[in-house]
Structures are given as structure tokens and as C-alpha cells.
Symmetry: C2
Subunit: 307 residues, 2 copies
Amino acid sequence: MKFSFTSLGCASALPSADRFPSAHVLNVHERLFLIDCGEGCQMLLRKWGYPFLKIDNIFISHLHGDHIFGIFGLLSTMSMMGRTSQLRIFAPAGFSEILSFFMDHFGEMLNYEIVHKSLISQDMDTIMEDRKIKISSFPLNHRVDCYGFRFDEKRPARNIHKALIDEYKLTLAEIASLKSGEDIVRENGQILENLSFTYLPYIPRSFAYCSDTAPFPGLTRFISGCDMIYHEATFGREMAETAHSTMHSTAEDAAMAANAAGATKLLIGHFSSRYKDPSILLDQAREIFPETYIAREGMTFDIPLLK
Amino acid sequence: MKFSFTSLGCASALPSADRFPSAHVLNVHERLFLIDCGEGCQMLLRKWGYPFLKIDNIFISHLHGDHIFGIFGLLSTMSMMGRTSQLRIFAPAGFSEILSFFMDHFGEMLNYEIVHKSLISQDMDTIMEDRKIKISSFPLNHRVDCYGFRFDEKRPARNIHKALIDEYKLTLAEIASLKSGEDIVRENGQILENLSFTYLPYIPRSFAYCSDTAPFPGLTRFISGCDMIYHEATFGREMAETAHSTMHSTAEDAAMAANAAGATKLLIGHFSSRYKDPSILLDQAREIFPETYIAREGMTFDIPLLK
């Protein structure tokens, strides 16, 4: 029952030999969600052992090169590896033109369907939902149309305390009712209260991705209560003016966002190339939010199951 | 006086974690020529220490993704690094549309000029020439419009044997005439023969790049007499049928091409992902052309100066 995040690249606009542009994998119950797709993404997916064909949904925050220049290579390779199932790409409206260009020039051999789901809402918006997860987009505050993503694990069915099944000789119908959350009133008037007979097997987990963005008050509502937050931290506090004029965040901004959201853990990335060693950014963030970590390439951060 | 070739990636269509798509650097007298630009090229240029701003000319063999998906990232990064000087890209005609797409969607901030020099000739064609080098394109035999490139060092000015300058009390005018290759007839009838007084400081060197191509007889004329040849070797002899039906070469084809051209050294690359270890391809090529080497990522092959 995994719920874990791995960054493949924590560079910002200028990548380096060992720091690739933005691309990340969220693993929810062994289903892989790709978040942003900077240049080199397909090589890094291979490097860290993520099978391409487990990716059916890609989330693109915005249409700057350092977040999408890996998409053409990935789409081509998926085809060459025999993909036939539909791929959905959640991206700002402008992605349609980019996808059309790709299909016109490189899509000849493609043997699967690519569906672009356009991000348009300027409020919290459920963009995908099934039995296990709800995924929402929300607007960020960048130079171009830019979105964050929130992944909420669905509340699992309640489990029944096993000892009570025998003790109360529960019927299959009664078990089904209890699992769905109902109380039971037996013919003899006996009441079996749901809360006494059942328990939540685990607390649903949640993760939010925020890149690229200048700080803005509305963010808190979108990411409130998330267990783990990825937030860009392009600059340190000494570059706050540059950060905000380019519509980015400092490490402190990221920490304050996590703090306001009541998060358990903060991952920072998207570092300016001027920070050869981003630990100075980590230190600044930890002064405000101690549970901050650097989203180092290939490092996986789990959200543990809590019961 | 370098004349050396470095491959940044020797994968074919399907890259792997440690084998990137086609991108190569030819260093001629510390001027860098980039040949093909597969995904990840900009990160690999940094990894192997090639300064982006020393690249003024890029050569694209053909418009398949594994040879050009790195171009958008490289062009963007060059701008962010402050490039202002013109960049020339030699590529098939269809590249114009790709460049237009890039400029429309990602070129807003670009502060340098990109000139696309269209490759069209179906014969040997001089596409660039100056005092030090002549660069030619020639057609290859692939599924799409595809070109090879030949780099010929220009013949250097002749040097004068120093001892003879004093012995014959050569004047500055006489030295200039001898350097330019003339014989001298002095007023007293004395003849100073150029070949006795001068020598070529080094023999001009040459390199040819051939990827992707099925073997064809006309190739020999284009690459004849090159010191070093890079030739694709996507498949081994057991896959010859696949190689030729997909318009590619086997390692043996590459070796025969080098043999026919009278080359000194052959570098092979563009290996199919089925060859985890390409040494089987090396062995097959060496049976025909012993001076064959694998163009391993980051390995530099010099053409030595011969006097």
C-alpha cells in the first residue's frame, strides 16, 4: 500500500551534469503518476527502475521547457516499447498545440492514444477520481498559467474487529452493512453500533505538489492537511527579491507554506544552479519547518500508513 | 591543435539509464562542433566539460527524435547562459518547422539569432569553409532525408627549415614567398626550390560521421581517405535482415565502409538496446577492420598530428 514520492530531477531552469530538470514519480498503491517531465525524464525513469508502462497519467504543471522537454522522448519511447493503452496528460490548455506538433512530426508510428486533459479551473478542481484516489489541480502563482496537484487517498472500507464476528455470530449481510458504515438493529432490538464493531484500517494519506510559484495566501486552502508537500525552493532568503520578481519561492516561503498547511513533511527542490550544494536552502527551511528534506534525485519519501 | 571526437551517447532509438541517444562533439583546434543532439545532450556537455558557448555550429543528420530531442533544451539553456552570438544549425529542410515551433512557444526570451542552414544536396556539398576547416554534407541511405558530415582540416601554411634562413640569409619577402609555396629565383640566378626549403608542419586530418544509414556503394566516395570515421552499427550480423529493412547497418557493414574508404580508425555507435554489452558488435567489426573502437560515452578519440 505504497504512497511515496521520488524526484528524478531537482534542478530549475539550468540543469547540470548531476541535477536534471523537474520530473517526479508518485507511487500510489503501485500505480505510477508522473509529475512534470523535464529533459532526460525517460532515462531517469529507467535509472531508478520505474516501468514506463505503469504510467497512465502524466501531470504537467506549466509549459516552461524545464518541465516538459522530456515529454517527446518519453512519448516516442512508450510507443517503441509496445504501449497500446491510452495515456492521459493533464496540462494547461496550451499543451494542445505542443501535442499537435509532436503528433504531426513524430507521431506517425504511435500506436496508442494520447488524451490531453486541459487544466483550466482557477480554483480547486477534481481532475481524476476513482475508488482509490482523488486527484485535484489548483492554480499557482507563476509567470505563466501554472498548476499544482493534490493527491488524496480515498477513505478505505472499514474493517470489522474479528473477535466480534464470532462473539456476535454476525451474518454475512450484517458484516456487509457494518463495513459500509451502517449501524445494525437486530430483530430482537439489539443495536450493533458501527463505531464499536469496526475500525478504519488506515488513515487516508495525501500529497501536494507546488512548482513553480511565488507565495500567495490562497495556497494554504489548496494544500491544507496534506501529509507531505513538495514545494519549489528555487532561492535562499538572500535572493528573496529575485525569487519573487521571477514568481518563484525561497526555501523560507516553502517552509511557511508547509507550516500553514499543517503538513507533516516538506520536500524542497527546483534549486537554482547557483546553489551547488542546496543544504543552505535546507537549513533556512528547517528554521521554520524542521521536517524539511531535499528532494534528491532518486530518493524515495514514503508517507507511512497510520492506523 | 586538437582534432578529436567524443560521443556523448551511443544509444539508438531506445536509450537506457547509462546509454543516451546520439550526440557527439568534434573538437577542431578548440572549436567545438556538435553533431546530432539527442535528449540529454545539454546535461552530457556539462558532464564532460564542454562549454556551450564554444559551440557555434550544430549538425543534425536527420529529424528522428533520438537525434534531435535535446535541441530545445540546449537552445533554451544557451540563451539563459547569456549567449548573444549567432548559432548555425545545419539540418534537413524539415527542421525549419521544428525551429519555428520552438521559437513560437519557447523563443520569447531568446537573445541570439539561430540560422537554419538547410541540407538539400544529394551529392557531396561544402556547407562551411574557412581558413582552418572545410565541412561537407553528403546523403545517407535512411528511411528519411538523412545526411553524413565530413570535416577536412585545411592544409596548413608551409614552414621554413630554420637553419636555412641563416645559411641563405633569406629576406622577409623571400620567407613570405617560400611559405606560400613559391620557388625563388634570386637576381644572381640562384634558385631556391620550395620543396627543399620548406616542409608541411603536419598532414591535414579528416573525419566523417555516418548515422543512420543502410550500406550503399556511393558512400565510399564521400568518406574516402578519412583518418577517422564514425559509422552507426545498430545491429550484429545475426540481425542483418532487420538492419537493412529498417535502413540501418550492421557492425560488419560499418567495418566494410571504413575498409573501402581506407580509414585509419573506425568508431561504432548507435547500438540497438538489445546489445547490453556492445562488445559482440566490436568483435564482428574487428574481424574486417581491426582498428575499430566503441564510441563509449565521454571517451575522446584523437586523430594525432602526423608530420
